[in-house]
Symmetry: C2
Subunit: 298 residues, 2 copies
């Protein structure tokens, strides 16, 4: 990884982790088991991609990173909630996530469901907190809440999860695979970028750039994820591999094979980078981050 990017990621991960620790009730708060479960999944070694994207887009528009930290935390809460629920026995039934037992394996199904519920609710609590309203105009915050609720609602993230399950073992064409990825993964990645930019006061053209770029980056992210499931190292990934094939998941590698999917990913990656060229030198980190998303090994 480019050393400048490595520094950027490291610094921001630390800030996001500190902010998460600040905003999420500690394990002494009742009900303890619930807050323990929320923190268990939040601090299980996530890459903090979505928070970092929100910080990066806010910085590009000219905002200080500390001001958007509540947004960064909210995005990670939403992301973690979606992972906990996706892993449940009635959904993807996964035992391992980032090398650790999944939430329902650790705390039982009821607490896992409720920890997910509590995390998505906490996201909206943080977004509507006075901290954020002290720094940004209320109408901007409301737009961000709307964007995030949209992205993770029944026509976004949740639609993606339903489609993902519905098409298991069925024949899916490219348009189905694309729609699953756009909803399941790209929607929140795109919204991380646009909401960071929106809070920072981005204009319509800037928002449009972040939106289109985020959609491409989300596609790249998911295709890489699916390639890692096919060819990755389970040790480094911290989870079992080759699950998608066994389950008959609708993915690009299942549709076109690894080589073609890899080429498609590179093509989308190039298009994504081209989209942020007009942002100039300030978008250099985002460019490096895009490369990293396509090259990562976990």
């Amino acid at each position: 990884m480019d050393p400048a990017l490595a520094d950027y990621i490291l610094e921001n991960r630390r800030l996001v982790d500190d902010a998460l620790d600040y905003y999420v009730p500690n394990v002494e708060t009742e009900p303890r088991v619930l807050h323990e479960a929320m923190r268990y999944s939040l601090f299980a070694g996530g890459k903090r991609i979505r928070p970092i994207l929100a910080i990066a887009s806010a910085e590009i528009v000219g905002e200080d990173k500390t001001s958007v930290m509540p947004l960064a935390v909210a995005l990670e809460c939403v992301h973690t909630y979606s992972l906990i629920h996706d892993d449940l026995p009635s959904m993807d039934d996964d035992d391992l996530r980032r090398g650790k037992p999944t939430s329902h394996k650790m705390f039982g199904e009821a607490v896992a469901i409720l920890a997910g519920d509590a995390l998505v609710t906490l996201a909206f609590e943080i977004l509507s907190s006075v901290e954020l309203a002290r720094v940004f105009p209320c109408h901007r915050i409301l737009s961000v809440i709307r964007d995030i609720a949209d992205a993770c609602g029944s026509r976004g993230l949740i639609a993606g999860q339903v489609m993902d399950m519905t098409f298991e073992g069925k024949i899916a064409d490219e348009s189905v695979v694309e729609r699953i990825i756009l909803n399941k993964t790209a929607a929140l990645i795109k919204t991380a970028l646009t909401s960071g930019a929106r809070l920072a006061g981005a204009n319509c053209e800037q928002l449009d750039v972040f939106s289109k770029f985020g959609q491409k980056l989300g596609m790249v992210f998911q295709i890489k994820d699916d390639l890692l499931d096919l060819e990755g190292d389970p040790e480094k990934l911290g989870k079992a591999v080759k699950k998608d094939g066994t389950r008959g998941k609708a993915t690009y590698p299942a549709l076109y094979g690894a080589d073609h999917s890899s080429k498609l990913m590179r093509k989308l990656l190039g298009e994504a980078k081209k989209l942020i060229e007009p942002l100039g030198q300030r978008a250099q980190t985002l460019c490096l981050l895009t490369e990293y998303v396509g090259q990562r090994i976990s």
Copy 2:
């Protein structure tokens, strides 16, 4: 029931139902099974108590009921999500709700979990919608979002559900039973009242009255619920009865028996009505509604 109250409830239920139909994606919207499940539980014959309380408090403060309809819808979405998740096999494992199969019985566990997730998310989508921002100042709307997220978060509704499960079959004293009810039931009922009033521009004294009243009314509501489980007619209730005793749930009837619990409920009901006396004639409907909550047979 008092005929004026019956009219009021009937009229508002109709308005809330129409608004729900407007705000919730129709069953033609993909993924169809998800939207079908959301609508199935939303239109399963709920009493719309929380929406009606929000409307009533807004009207008392001087606001038109149509303006607060998005809030009314959001509250019903949150309430319905909590019921769907509470009924799940890993939680209370209920087969019937309002005389119909529960969501997971109809749609399977995965879709039931996701329908709940989608409903709580939709609540925040509606609260942050432009419809509401066109009528009310953004800072007021943000406060309402914060109140609702608080009420249904890990220190509110979800805390109540965790405690409710944790104390099943265990010895619980009055303070535990009270805390369970305050979180599980009273928090959202209180917030329905305060958020309606807050949107309408209530002052601190008014908000304080609604908050205290809502807490008492929530207690009354839950004790009546527990009494109905003990003594109610399963036909009229649309669900099995005497479940709490079998499961060893921590309730007032379990702690003190039906007679004493009934007396306690009447006492709280009297205190609740006394709290809204300062609001004068305008609070007459709320007074009648309080009586109804304590006398209902379903």
